[in-house]
Symmetry: C2
Subunit: 663 residues, 2 copies
Amino acid sequence: MAVTVNPDLRKERENASFHPENVTNFLYGGPAVVKRKRELESLVLNDPDFQHEDLNFLSREQQYETQLKKSITMISKGEKLKITDAQDQLFYRSTVVGSDAPSFGVHVIMFLPTLYGQATQEQKDKWLKMAEKYAIIGTYAQTEMGHGTFLRGLETTATYDPTTQEFVINTPTITAYKWWPGALGKTANYCVLMAQLYIHGKSYGPHPFMLQIRSLQDHKPLPGVTVGDIGPKFGYNTIENGFLAVNNVRIPRENMLMKYSRVEPDGTYVKPQSTKLAYGTMVFVRATIVVQSASVLAKAVTIATRYSCVRRQSEMKPGQPEPQVLDYVTQQYKLFPYLAAAYAFWLTGQTMMSVYTKSSNKISKGDISVLPELHALSAGLKALTTWVANVGMEECRMACGGHGYSHASGLPRLYANLTAGATYEGENTVMMLQTARYLMKSYNQSLQGEKLAGSVAYLSGVQPVPAAGRTRNMLDLGVLCDAYRHRAARLVHEAAVQLRNERQAGKDQPDAWNAASVDLVKAAMAHSQYFVVKNFAERLTDSTLDSSISDVLTRLCQLHALHGLVNNSGDFLEDGYLTGTDIHQARRLINALMAKLRPDAVALVDAFDFPDGILNSVLGRYDGNVYEHLLEWAKASPLNKTDVHQSYHKYLKPFLEANRAKL
Amino acid sequence: MAVTVNPDLRKERENASFHPENVTNFLYGGPAVVKRKRELESLVLNDPDFQHEDLNFLSREQQYETQLKKSITMISKGEKLKITDAQDQLFYRSTVVGSDAPSFGVHVIMFLPTLYGQATQEQKDKWLKMAEKYAIIGTYAQTEMGHGTFLRGLETTATYDPTTQEFVINTPTITAYKWWPGALGKTANYCVLMAQLYIHGKSYGPHPFMLQIRSLQDHKPLPGVTVGDIGPKFGYNTIENGFLAVNNVRIPRENMLMKYSRVEPDGTYVKPQSTKLAYGTMVFVRATIVVQSASVLAKAVTIATRYSCVRRQSEMKPGQPEPQVLDYVTQQYKLFPYLAAAYAFWLTGQTMMSVYTKSSNKISKGDISVLPELHALSAGLKALTTWVANVGMEECRMACGGHGYSHASGLPRLYANLTAGATYEGENTVMMLQTARYLMKSYNQSLQGEKLAGSVAYLSGVQPVPAAGRTRNMLDLGVLCDAYRHRAARLVHEAAVQLRNERQAGKDQPDAWNAASVDLVKAAMAHSQYFVVKNFAERLTDSTLDSSISDVLTRLCQLHALHGLVNNSGDFLEDGYLTGTDIHQARRLINALMAKLRPDAVALVDAFDFPDGILNSVLGRYDGNVYEHLLEWAKASPLNKTDVHQSYHKYLKPFLEANRAKL
């Protein structure tokens, strides 16, 4: 069936300076990957078994049930179709679930990896096959009502009883309730439980235990187990997050995951060799979040950009037709910087993943020398990209005016789900302070004459000396990278000075750190932004880059760097590194770049290659037939099932009649 | 019943430097008002008829029905209790609905005022009493699917037929569907419809018409009327926004609201005397939004600040108890600037309201000379305060960590509802450009030697000459106001230069305006921020200000000004008005101010005087008993009605059993 594309969008596509397919290939790693991606997407999007009512029309309980059914279908069909390759699975699954959470997400990304990583061979033999085949559904129960970030603060206890060779599990207080684990409330029947290990009255810190929470016969909570849903949330309401309290539940000694630490039958505790190995997983998870930030930002920008070409508004010139909203420079200034950021983060995510893959070999061989840098880098980039994606998604939503506020746009749901990225897997400020800790350590090493390598090499020997009187070409990516580098180095230096001053004023180390923490976060942010800009510029020097797309990608890189520079202009001006004239020039160049990017905007979002079935947005439809489908979507709203809602008879009619009688 | 207050919160209250009641009196206008406010709040909060299940637990249809019932109760009881004073009604109603929308909101704030303002006496006699007594429920149908901001673009037509003395109403296209009016979908039976008036084939622009849309007998849509719900939205789901299409519906000539324009029986069109009078209402509505921005920001900060004193996290010093989260300087840096902004906007809102009240007398007498300035000021302040409130609400939510993401915190719902303020009643960028238009006009007048008055007086004669070499006390409110004034004047000047340059480069006026629009928005923003800072500082010089609270309020004002200065430091550095040393000093002063405000933080949010029943937040409870009530709230979640959810039997059980069989 031929689809008529909205003429405005058609014209946009005709006028683009490049073929979006070339950028798509660049973004996904070549035509073969793109082809496979589309095959897998079609498998899902053309399968009636995956169709269902818009989740926005359903109550939370209905959403939970719909997602459970769909997740089971996804697993069963995936098995039949033999989708086993990791990348294939990613394409397949993300098409099924879009921006929502799958029902067994924590089972796959936390429960299984914990068994792989921390169970002994005997334990794997016992549980792994069951878990891999979904004969049991697990979750990872670490966070408690009163304890998140601070692992050592956990209150749940596992007390070893050598007489029976069992652990006795307890939730001693209300704040010790496990709280937030995904699928814990109604779905999982097993969990890995993090609890404080006690042997002979002595505490050995948090350890992982395998705990069955529901009966395999009837799914009822086992004796001593209180489990439930923690209630509705801002987003991710297709899954339930759960609470769990345990009262004197005994589990065999063999249920402690003992690949690293061990408890012998007599209660002897055997220490782990290294505790740093778990950092590898954290780096991977954070790199995944960077990739995700790029993707959600790309989705939001796709929706807002297409709609801004379909939507016409106001009268720019008397008597002329209403212009496309994207022709307003203020609209470009809202969207194009986030378009550029989506590209920047996409490439950052790729670099993170490839660095992780290269390093994970070393790490698995026990060489953890790369971990501190990787860990620091991934923490800061996780925080930076989720923060920017958060603000960007909302900017895109508001750029769509009133219709952006409707769930028809897809944007409120995207935001409500994905904004959680700033909080989970390490709250962002905590993340930035971890990066700052590494920066301070590196800075001090360089002061002591050590040569720094990797992402902090620039801290060695860089003197914060402003270069006055130079004239600069602010479009030159070398000039821009230098400016970001200088700013990062200076802010790291400033934070270190601030820390030293606080110490010299008499504060102890923790208090001085706290007093300097705003400057430390600022330094970590500048470091992370420098990495993103430099990485983007470096990718453009790739000799395999298709020449037909290097112009437009260079513009995006320039815009990304200049926009960040103008937005933080004080940081560059404060020590005179840049001048007011430079900033003024930067502003004018942004305007010029936006004008050049304007005709390519739709092609640049098309290149992200999100099918409509994944975008789930009436405003962002590829064919641009927005208004017809807004009406169609609205008509399907549950409140429209009857012309007169039942509440009229119950409440409104008696009210109106009584009021009329009083006239 | 004595409530045990969380000991941490109790201690906070004991250590405050002032009595919050004094600030409450300052904020609300004296003890008598505060007393009346609390009486009215108690009337609602202690009345079982207003109790209902947490709206977050309900489907959208249930929320609609619950709110309808509650709104009817509110009106009936309000009548019985004779709550007629405008301020009393505001206290009473906002206690009933909290941050959600009442069912007949548009009836009260748009439909009735339109009848008051635009109906003739005969029309008032016919409809007003019915509307006032809720014998009919109306809405205001202006926005169309394809047309929001641009009134002249409306497509709905009202064609006069002199032979029958009727208007024929039509919705000629899909984009002409009325879209978004509140309560239009299922609740209202009347509306004021804005339609393009056609007489003898000639267009006279948009005019208001009284249109009945549903039968008073059975509430069914009248013949020719298609009406329904536009579907679920990000927030405000207690009400339905509606769509409306009209097909050849005839209404009598007398149904055009004719106080200003008239159509005579023979089709003669009589022009209105002035079209500017409607601006008065817009100013009032925007001032109301400024007040609302202050209030929602105050609510969010109250929740986050109290919770940050109850929540303890991590180990700052080995062996010591986990500190209160608010003792982390990064947490203070997230919350205190928004605490200060809430106070700043609260006072801005009061000033706007009092300026409006003073002016409205003049306006109602036909003297509209004050309108352009008022209009420009209200537009910019509406945009500034809603933008800041948006970002601030989300900052507060994320500052509450994981629990902030739960609906138990009250913050997601607050945000999802109130973020709409950036879009409705004039999209914020459009608002800022309206302010900019007035600034450019004033600037040009001052160039031509005219003396400017009021909020733009400072544009006269201010030369953007940097004052080098001065040392400044950056805590001095005079110094800070001067800096904001200089920045605003300079950015207005820069935008004007930019506009001129674009014209000189050959662009026509609309294109030049568009090309300079980013600078114009920036100038309007700086102008609005200057107004807020100056207004705050001026309020502190009030001789009636209670001396016990002037210290703490001064700190808030300093923090507000310094935070905005540091956040936009480039604007102050770019022309050398401030130096790097000034900015550095400002940063240190912010740290010092935060340390001084820390012991007063809880008292400062207590002073906003929001009862728990209005905050609707487990985290923000006055008594701080957060954790017990998190559990209680979660247990009431609909998914916990049964231990084993029905979906287990439908989907999970067969899946698990099949997988187990395959092992």
